[in-house]
C-alpha cells in the first residue's frame, strides 16, 4: 500500500539544516494497521506528511497504492492527496462550517453534486455516531466528538489509506479508547489501511499489527507488535515498552518485597507459548513449590498475553532451585534472591539478557 525507499527529508531553518527523516525504507501492507512510534522530534510527523505528499522528500521515493508520488507536479499530487485520509491531533476542523459542512468539504473539493454529498455526509455521520450533530458548529463539540468528525471527513471520499497523526494525543484515556475502537472499525469494516503516528505505546498495543520505532529520523526497529514487545533490541524501544507496562518491579520495589516476604522472589516473564500463567503454576506445583503473586501485570499485545509475574516461592531450597531452573528453560526468569539466597540475576532460554529490567526499563 505504501512503499518508502531510502526516504530522507531535510529542512533548512535559517542556516541550520535539520534532517527530520533519515534514509527510511519500509512497506505498509494493504489492510493492516501500522504504527509509527517515537518521541517528539523523532521525525514521525514528517514521515506521515511524506506519505500523503504534503512534503516532498529530499531523497528517496514514496509510492502509495502503486503510484510513485515523488517528482509528480503539484497538480497531480492534489488528487493523490484526496485519495488518502488524514486525521490530526488538533482535529483541524473548519470553525466557519457546521459538522456536516466539514464532512462535506472534501466532497466539494472532489466535485460531488449536492444530492450525493448530502447522502454521503449523512451516511458518514451515522457511521461515526454523530448523526444528531450535523447542524452544530465544531466549537459545540467535545474533543472526542471533534475527532469523530475528523475521521468522518477523512473517510468521505472512501480512501484506501488513512493517516492518523497523534489522533488521540489531545484526548482523555476513555475518549482515546472510543476513538481507537472507531479506527479499528474503519479498518475491519471498511478495509481501510491505517497508519497511526503516536508517542503512546498503549495506542500501539491496542490497535496496531506492526510497528516502526523511530528515533532521530531513523526507523530503528520494525516488526510485529508482539515480537517487538517480546524482543526489543533498542534502548528507545525498551523505554516505550516500560511506559506501556508497569509489570516489573523497580529495584527499590524489589528491596521492599525482599523485606516484606520470607520466600524467594523471582520475576517470571509470561508469554503465550511455553510460559502461560497456567504453565508457570503447573511447573511450580510439579516441584512442590508454593507461590504467591507479589507484583506483576499481564496485558494483551497484538491479542496475545504479555507481561510478567513476580512471585514469592516457598518450599524446600532444592525444590525451589530446580523449579527456577525449570522455569528458566521455558521463559525469562529474574531471580531477586531472598530466603537466604543472593540474587541470581536474569536467566532464560536465550541466556542472560532478554527483556531489560531494573533501571533501564523503568527509565
Amino acid at each position: 500500500m505504501v512503499e518508502l525507499r531510502g526516504v530522507t527529508k531535510e529542512f533548512t531553518d535559517g542556516r541550520t539544516r535539520v534532517r527530520a527523516v533519515d534514509d527510511v525504507s519500509l512497506d505498509i501492507d494493504r489492510g493492516e494497521i501500522f504504527g509509527v512510534i517515537g518521541y517528539s522530534g523523532a521525525g514521525k510527523s514528517t514521515l506521515v506528511r511524506l506519505i500523503n505528499a504534503l512534503e516532498a522528500p529530499t531523497a528517496g521515493t514514496v509510492s502509495v497504492d502503486g503510484t510513485v508520488l515523488t517528482g509528480l507536479p503539484e497538480r497531480r499530487l492534489r488528487p493523490a492527496r484526496a485519495g488518502v485520509g488524514f486525521i490530526f491531533q488538533q482535529f483541524n476542523l473548519l470553525s466557519s462550517r457546521t459538522v456536516a459542512g466539514n464532512v462535506a468539504y472534501p466532497l466539494t473539493v472532489a466535485g460531488w453534486d449536492r444530492a450525493s454529498k448530502a447522502a454521503r455526509v449523512a451516511e458518514l455521520l451515522d457511521f461515526v455516531g454523530l448523526a444528531d450533530k450535523a447542524g452544530q458548529r465544531p466549537s459545540q463539540l467535545s474533543g472526542g466528538q471533534k475527532q469523530r468528525v475528523g475521521i468522518a471527513r477523512a473517510l468521505a471520499t472512501s480512501p484506501a489509506l488513512l493517516l492518523a497523526d497523534e489522533a488521540t494525543s489531545a484526548l482523555d484515556p476513555e475518549t482515546t479508547r472510543d476513538v481507537l475502537d472507531l479506527l479499528r472499525r474503519v479498518n475491519r469494516e471498511l478495509g481501510v489501511t491505517i497508519v497511526v503516528i503516536t508517542h503512546e505505546m498503549s495506542v500501539v498495543t491496542y490497535l496496531c499489527d506492526r510497528v516502526a520505532v523511530m528515533d532521530g529520523g531513523r526507523v530503528v526497529e520494525l516488526g510485529d507488535v508482539y515480537d517487538i514487545f517480546a524482543n526489543p533490541r533498542e534502548p528507545v524501544t525498551r523505554r516505550f515498552i516500560a511506559t506501556a507496562l508497569h509489570d516489573r518491579p523497580r529495584p527499590d520495589v524489589v528491596e521492599r518485597l525482599l523485606e516484606r516476604h520470607q520466600g524467594r522472589i523471582v520475576t517470571v516473564a509470561v508469554s503465550d507459548e511455553t510460559a502461560t500463567s497456567t504453565a508457570i503454576t503447573d511447573v511450580l506445583r510439579h516441584h512442590g513449590v508454593d507461590s504467591a503473586i507479589v507484583y506483576g501485570g499481564i496485558t494483551e499485545v497484538g491479542a496475545r498475553p504479555f507481561g510478567s509475574l513476580t512471585l514469592e516461592l516457598t518450599g524446600a531450597p532444592d525444590d525451589v532451585r530446580t523449579a527456577i531452573a525449570d522455569l528458566a528453560a521455558r521463559t525469562e526468569v529474574v531471580d531477586h534472591g531472598g530466603a537466604g539466597t543472593p540474587p541470581g540475576g536474569p536467566s532464560g532460554p536465550d541466556g542472560p539478557g532478554g527483556r531489560a529490567t531494573g533501571t533501564e526499563a523503568a527509565r
Binding site: F86, N92, L94, V109
Partner: protein, 218 residues
C-alpha cells in the same frame, strides 16, 4: 453666516464625505484584500511561497504606508488627475484615499491571516484542495470575524483621511470645518462637524462589532 445657510452646506459636505469613505472602503477594501492575501500566501513555507513576489510586495507596502497622507495626496496628484479627469472634489480625492487604503488594508488582512491556525490550511491541502480554493473557502471564511473588525478599524482611518483631503480641494466635512469653522474663527461650526464625524464613527464601530460578534459566535 446663519445656520439656515450652513445647514445645506453641511448636508452636502456630509454627503461628499460618505461618498469618499464608502467608495474608498469598497475599492481599497477589495484591492487591499487581494494584496493582503498575496502578502500572506507568498511568505516562505506558505501556500504559494515566492521570495521575489514577497520581497517586492513588502518593499512596496513599506514604502507607501509611512508617507504622511496629506503629502501623499499632493504627491499622487498627476496620477489622480489622469485617472479621474479632474483636479478637485470628492472623486479626485477618492483616488489617493483608495490607493492608501489598499496598502493599509493589505497589512490588516495579512496580520489576520497570519494569526490563523495553519492546521486548517494543512487539512484542506491534505484533502486535495488547491491554493485558490483554500483562499476562498478556508482562509477568508476562517478569518472573517477578525477581518470584519479590521475593516471597521479601517473605516475609522478612512474617515480621518477624508477630513485630510478637505484641506487640499477634496471637499467633504474636513473642508467644511476648515472653511466655515477654522478660517472664520467659528468654533461652533468646527465642533458641530466634529460631532457629526463622531456619530458616523460610532455607528460604523457598532455595526462592525455586531457583525463580528455574529460571525465569531460560531
Amino acid at each position: 453666516m446663519s445656520w439656515s445657510e450652513l445647514g445645506p452646506l453641511l448636508g452636502q459636505a456630509l454627503g461628499q464625505t460618505l461618498y469618499m469613505v464608502v467608495g474608498t472602503l469598497l475599492v481599497g477594501g477589495v484591492l487591499g484584500l487581494v494584496l493582503g492575501v498575496a502578502l500572506y500566501v507568498s511568505r516562505p513555507r506558505n501556500l504559494l511561497p515566492n521570495r521575489a513576489v514577497a520581497g517586492v510586495l513588502n518593499v512596496l507596502v513599506n514604502t507607501v504606508r509611512p508617507i504622511p497622507f496629506i503629502i501623499f495626496v499632493t504627491a499622487v496628484q498627476p496620477a489622480a488627475i489622469a485617472v479621474t479627469g479632474t483636479s478637485y472634489g470628492p472623486t479626485y480625492a477618492l483616488f489617493a484615499m483608495a490607493v492608501m487604503a489598499t496598502f493599509a488594508t493589505s497589512r490588516i488582512v495579512e496580520q489576520n491571516l497570519v494569526a490563523l491556525d495553519p492546521g486548517v490550511v494543512e487539512a484542506a491541502r491534505a484533502m486535495g484542495a488547491g491554493p485558490v480554493r483554500i483562499i476562498t473557502t478556508v482562509l477568508i471564511p476562517e478569518a472573517l470575524g477578525p477581518l470584519i473588525l479590521g475593516y471597521t478599524f479601517l473605516f475609522v482611518a478612512i474617515v480621518d483621511m477624508s477630513a485630510v483631503v478637505g484641506a487640499v480641494a477634496g471637499g467633504g466635512l474636513g473642508n467644511f470645518a476648515i472653511v466655515y469653522g477654522y478660517q472664520r474663527y467659528d468654533y461652533a461650526v468646527t465642533w458641530l462637524t466634529v460631532a457629526v464625524i463622531v456619530v458616523i464613527v460610532q455607528l460604523a464601530q457598532a455595526l462592525g462589532n455586531l457583525l463580528a460578534r455574529r460571525v465569531l459566535r460560531r
